[in-house]
């Protein structure tokens, strides 16, 4: 179980209507169905992951995430989730806006590219960071839109999103100890719960 998934569960209300974007093999949706009695759908493009969803009895809709979620009505979900996938999106800001249109809240988790290891990799070695969590070379990575915690905060301010909750996660003890103090430097993964601020 990825550490962020258990935390996501804690943020999802009982009985919520949930949409999980890039839902993978449906693990999170299954967990939310079992533990939180949610109803909803996962969206996914990868054929093997879709089969995993079907095996788990998760409603999965094969679909590419580009710009819009046009089959979903405004505010038709309590929570729209995207874990570890915003950096894969072609238009992350547009998708985020769509998530907040169809959902009353959205939960986003992403790898913090401002983490000290990434910084050292680039500054000392002069190479694009390749880490255990981000094991790709620059030319074959699906992660095309990296951001740091500070970048994401800036986006939320620019767009007027209200941050309802925010957690910074690290697997390494050192990062965990300092991650709460200096998240932009030490968080490995960031997890946000957002809503659209009232106009």
């Amino acid at each position: 179980m990825r550490i962020d998934l258990d935390l996501v569960e804690q943020w999802v209300p009982q009985g919520a209507r949930v949409l999980d974007l890039a839902c993978g093999d449906g693990r999170l949706m299954r967990q939310l169905m079992d533990q939180r009695d949610v109803h909803g759908y996962g969206l996914e493009l990868d054929a093997d992951s879709i089969s995993g969803c079907i095996e788990r009895g998760v409603n999965v809709i094969e679909r590419e995430l580009v710009r819009d979620l046009d089959e979903f009505a405004d505010n038709s979900f309590d929570v729209v989730i995207m874990t570890q996938a915003i950096q894969v999106m072609k238009y992350p800001d547009v998708i985020l806006e769509e998530m907040l249109r169809v959902g009353k809240q959205c939960i986003v988790t992403f790898p913090n590219f401002g983490n000290v290891r990434a910084r050292l990799h680039l500054s000392l070695r002069g190479r694009m960071p390749v880490t255990k969590k981000l094991p790709y070379e620059w030319y074959n990575t699906p992660n095309i839109h990296f951001c740091t915690v500070a970048d994401f905060d800036q986006l939320c301010r620019d767009k007027g999103y209200e941050v309802l909750n925010r957690v910074h996660l690290s697997e390494q003890l050192f990062n965990r100890q300092f991650g709460q103090l200096w998240p932009n430097l030490f968080a490995e993964t960031a997890m946000y719960c957002l809503t659209k601020a009232a106009p």
Binding site: H39, Y41, A47, I50, S51, C53, I54, E55, G57, V58, N59, V60, I61, E62, R63, E71, F72, A73, S76
Partner: protein, 387 residues
């Protein structure tokens, strides 16, 4: 036989026939006081009749969906043998599978090629026009006769999918899962155009005899074959035709100094398929069913709102499409999914990458079979959990 069994075949099957005397009031206003349904079943109905699956056939299909009718090793199996059988996605060791030949069909159920008891004459072109709900109501009467109150699943490809969807709205309490494969909520004008060309081919055949060919002891073979050729080519993808036939010649040569006629492989194939179909199918049935397809509109009585229509349904849905299907394209399936989501229904949607076009729904495509099997495995688990 042993090789057939090792492939997970249901083996030799015998069609059944039932005479239903409960009057069937048709959408057109006509009533069939009694009618015949020919059907096949595979597997065993469990004690609480909770493991029954209805398979709805498509335009050219019939009740013979799996297994064989004879010991003849050259016999081709039923039309969906790739999916129905022990250990196959529609697993006959877990499900009781029912496949009727629809009324209006031409393989034994009451239809244009059968005798109208009121006149003693074959129905021919006088067979009343049908709507999908008429099929659904007749299938419901069959379910009653078989002691099946609620289908574990109703499955259909193409126009079979339209029946499955109509079921979910007509009898929402009587179906738990609806599997809609390569289908649509109505036909596009392009589809209607293809159907009209097919009908025109039949009607233009002098042997059609205004639909009374059977009494005249003839068949509009050429017209029916042409109708099928028009249809058949739309069920295939361009890639598939490229790969299978290319520009290869069946007869003749491109060389100069030669005036012999040429025939391309693809022509030969289509002619063969058309001719084969013309021997086996009834022209009046073809006219009847293509018109049913044209008229079908799932949401018409629901203010033309598919979401409002599906709000009536209670079952869960699996919708599947095939990437190169241009007759019932993935876009048409996505419309179904959108309406289901808006109606808050449980739905899973997959789009199978394949070059098999519309006929992909009949093909042995690994991903398609895997997902269908996984979904039906869940259905079977619910069935056994309930017991």
């Amino acid at each position: 036989m042993s090789s057939r069994e090792s492939r997970g075949s249901v083996g030799i099957v015998e069609p059944k026939q039932i005479s239903i005397s409960e009057p069937l009031r048709l959408s057109c206003g006509h009533t069939l006081d009694n009618y015949q349904l020919v059907y096949e079943t595979y597997g065993e109905l469990n004690s609480d009749a909770s493991n029954a699956i209805l398979v709805c056939h498509a335009l050219s299909g019939n009740h013979h969906a799996a297994g064989y009718h004879t010991e003849n090793p050259d016999e081709r199996p039923g039309w969906w043998d790739s999916c129905i059988g022990p250990g196959k996605p529609i697993d006959t060791e877990r499900f009781f599978v029912v496949v009727p030949n629809n009324i209006g069909g031409c393989h034994g159920s009451t239809g244009p090629n059968q005798v109208n008891p009121a006149t003693g004459r074959v129905w021919g072109p006088d067979f009343p026009p049908l709507r999908f709900r008429d099929w659904v109501h007749s299938q419901r009467q069959l379910a009653d006769q078989l002691g099946i109150h609620c289908w574990a699943a109703i499955i259909g490809g193409s126009l079979g999918g339209m029946q499955a969807m109509r079921w979910s709205l007509e009898y929402p309490e009587r179906v738990r899962h609806c599997l809609v494969i390569a289908s649509a909520m109505n036909l596009t004008p392009q589809n209607i155009a293809f159907n009209e060309m097919a009908r025109k081919a039949i009607l233009s055949d002098p042997d059609y005899c205004d639909g009374w060919y059977q009494e005249k002891g003839t068949r509009p073979r050429a017209g029916l074959a042409l109708a099928r050729m028009i249809g058949h080519v739309t069920y295939l993808s361009q890639n598939q035709l490229d790969e299978r036939f290319g520009r290869e010649l069946r007869e003749g040569t491109f060389e100069r100094g030669n005036s012999l006629p040429v025939q391309f492989e693809v022509e030969s194939y289509l002619n063969y398929k058309g001719g084969q179909f013309a021997e086996d199918f009834d022209a009046n049935t073809y006219l009847l069913i293509t018109r049913m397809l044209d008229v079908f509109d799932l949401a018409r009585e629901y203010n033309h709102s598919p979401a409002e229509a599906f709000a009536r349904a209670k079952c869960k849905f699996l919708v599947m499409s095939f990437s190169t299907d241009w007759r019932f394209s993935p876009d048409r399936s996505r419309e179904i999914v959108k309406a289901l989501v808006q109606a808050g229904r449980d739905v899973t949607y997959t789009e199978v990458e394949t070059d098999r076009g519309h006929d992909g729904f009949l093909a042995d495509i690994p991903r398609y079979q895997r997902d269908l099997a996984a979904y039906l495995n869940r259905v079977a688990q619910e069935t056994s959990d309930a017991n």
